[in-house]
């Protein structure tokens, strides 16, 4: 998977994790650090198991697969194409707003 696609997947997972668990993650780090990404995948999958959350589980597996090079599972192609373009826009927005809070509030 290309880097930009992995960023998009990471950003999507960031948004959903924040909404559903309150956990704030480092999107850029998830896309470029495998160990961190695996930790966030594990966190997301555990929460998805507890809450029976299909969406969270699907996104976590997509990020996991983005690192392993496998094709994403359980996702319809049409759905993926449409969601990825909006996710890319969302990813850019998130990176722009979240990055300023690394190392300080102001």
């Amino acid at each position: 998977m290309e880097d930009s696609e992995r960023v998009a997947v990471a950003a999507h997972l960031h948004v959903v994790l924040r909404r559903k668990t309150g956990r704030v993650t480092d999107t850029e780090w998830m896309a470029c650090n495998q160990a961190y990404a695996q930790a966030m995948v594990a966190f997301a999958l555990e929460h998805a198991r507890e809450q029976q959350d299909e969406e969270l589980a699907r996104l976590a597996r997509r990020l996991q697969d983005s690192w392993s090079g496998d094709k994403p599972r359980h996702v319809a192609p049409a759905e993926t194409a449409q969601s990825d373009s909006s996710v890319t826009t969302k990813a850019a927005e998130i990176l722009r707003t979240s990055a300023r809070y690394i190392g300080g509030l102001r």
Partner: protein, 408 residues
């Protein structure tokens, strides 16, 4: 003890209202301001910390702190003559009431309460540097010790007429050094000794709610009128002047920070505007009873820019994880305001001015003592218990791990 007829009712009414306003700055001003800035998993803990510190310091103040700060024993420290809640006599049968030698026109209860509100907010400010990682029990012990060992002596030096900095001629109308430099330096020491939060510098620590922080700032501004104008201890023209310069300085500083941020970062932010306003309020605090309105504009403009520098460039150079920039805003703002008091003080107002040298001595003395004594308090606590929560608690969030509660 004085006859009840010696009490000025108008001044007493104003000081009681001012006391309530200053208390409002902490509850819920600081509570909201800080809770809005931490991550969502630590919101409840942040609010509990501020409320609990207020409760602890209320008791330590009336138990010990007030007596050590505001009795005329030595230039360095008061005595225990007013300790253990012994200062608030009201004898309706004989129509006499106790008063402080520093405010003989007010019931001592009103004066002690006003000063209590200052002790409470000063100690509460430090919470902002240790949030998201300090053990709750350690924080409570810290608040109790710090309010007596650090705050009370400094208040004595500056505000007790026999205090050595007061005798030197250092001016501090409402607590630029006593409150803000003191708390700011203590916060920095705490941040260094506590260590950084996990993920600091690599993970984004997004504020839970800037809306809460805005509401907290509004309450701080509202309460600051009591903080500054109330320090006149009288409902008179000097209090009215202090009232006006407070708003003017806050406004100028908010715009200054916003303007600098706009230039440097390309966009004005809500947090920047709010932080600038607080920086201006901090800087005008020592000067509020000594400067004219035009000077307040300059103090605000300078403070806004200087506090921006303090909370950004200086913070990164110092390297400590002062979570909510207590030193950058309160410490740096307090230092700037104390020095600017000497620059802008008008002798026509209070019959006195100040020299920059005396102000620097006062700031340096307060900063040095605060740093050393705060470090000593932390070392002592560390002998009894860990200062930090463990890694799992920190990652899980202090709301659940320490309080079994969550903010929804």
């Amino acid at each position: 003890m004085v006859p009840l007829t010696a009490i000025d009712k108008a001044d007493t009414g104003w000081v009681m209202v001012a006391s309530a306003l200053v208390l409002l700055m902490t509850l819920p001003g600081i509570a909201l301001f800080y809770a809005g800035l931490v991550r969502r998993k630590n919101v409840v803990n942040t609010m509990v910390a501020v409320f609990a510190v207020a409760c602890v310091v209320t008791l330590t103040w009336f138990g010990l702190g007030y007596s050590l700060a505001f009795t005329a024993d030595s230039p360095w420290l008061g005595n225990l003559g007013r300790a253990w809640f012994a200062s608030l006599h009201f004898d309706g049968r004989r129509s006499v009431i106790s008063v402080s030698h520093l405010a003989p026109h007010l019931p001592e209860a009103a004066y002690a309460l006003f000063q209590a509100a200052f002790a409470i907010i000063t100690t509460s400010l430090i919470v902002g540097a240790v949030v998201e990682r300090m053990r709750f029990a350690a924080l409570l012990v810290f608040a109790a010790l710090w309010s007596v060992v650090v705050y009370a002596p400094v208040a004595h030096w500056v505000w007790e007429s026999g205090g050595w900095l007061n005798q030197l001629g250092a001016l501090d109308f409402a607590g630029g050094a006593v409150v803000h430099v003191n708390a700011g330096v203590a916060a920095l020491v705490c941040a260094f000794m506590m260590g950084r939060r996990r993920g600091y510098g690599t993970e984004p620590f997004e504020p839970h709610s800037l809306g809460w922080t805005a509401m907290g700032t509004a309450l701080l501004l509202f309460g600051w009128f009591g903080f500054n104008a109330g320090s006149a201890l009288s409902a008179d023209g000097r209090a009215a002047l202090a009232f006006v310069v407070t708003l003017v300085a806050a406004s100028a500083a908010g715009l200054a920070w916003m303007g600098v941020e706009w230039l440097v970062r390309g966009a004005p932010t809500l947090l920047g505007l709010l932080s600038g306003m607080v920086g201006g309020l901090v800087a005008i605090t020592p000067a509020a009873g000594f400067v004219q309105v035009g000077s307040a504009v300059w103090i605000g403009l300078i403070a806004g820019a200087v506090c921006f520098w303090g909370a950004t460039w200086l913070k990164r150079r110092l390297g400590a994880d002062d979570s909510l920039d207590v030193f950058g805003v309160h410490g740096v703002g307090g230092i700037a305001g104390s020095i600017l008091t000497a620059v802008f003080a008008d002798p026509l107002i209070a019959g006195t001015g100040a020299t920059v040298l005396n102000q620097l001595i006062a700031v340096a003395a307060v900063a040095a003592y605060s740093a050393a004594a705060t470090a000593g308090v932390l070392v002592l606590i560390r002998l009894l218990m860990p200062l930090r929560v463990d890694a799992v608690q920190e990652m899980e969030g202090l709301d659940i791990s320490l309080h079994l509660e969550r903010q929804h």
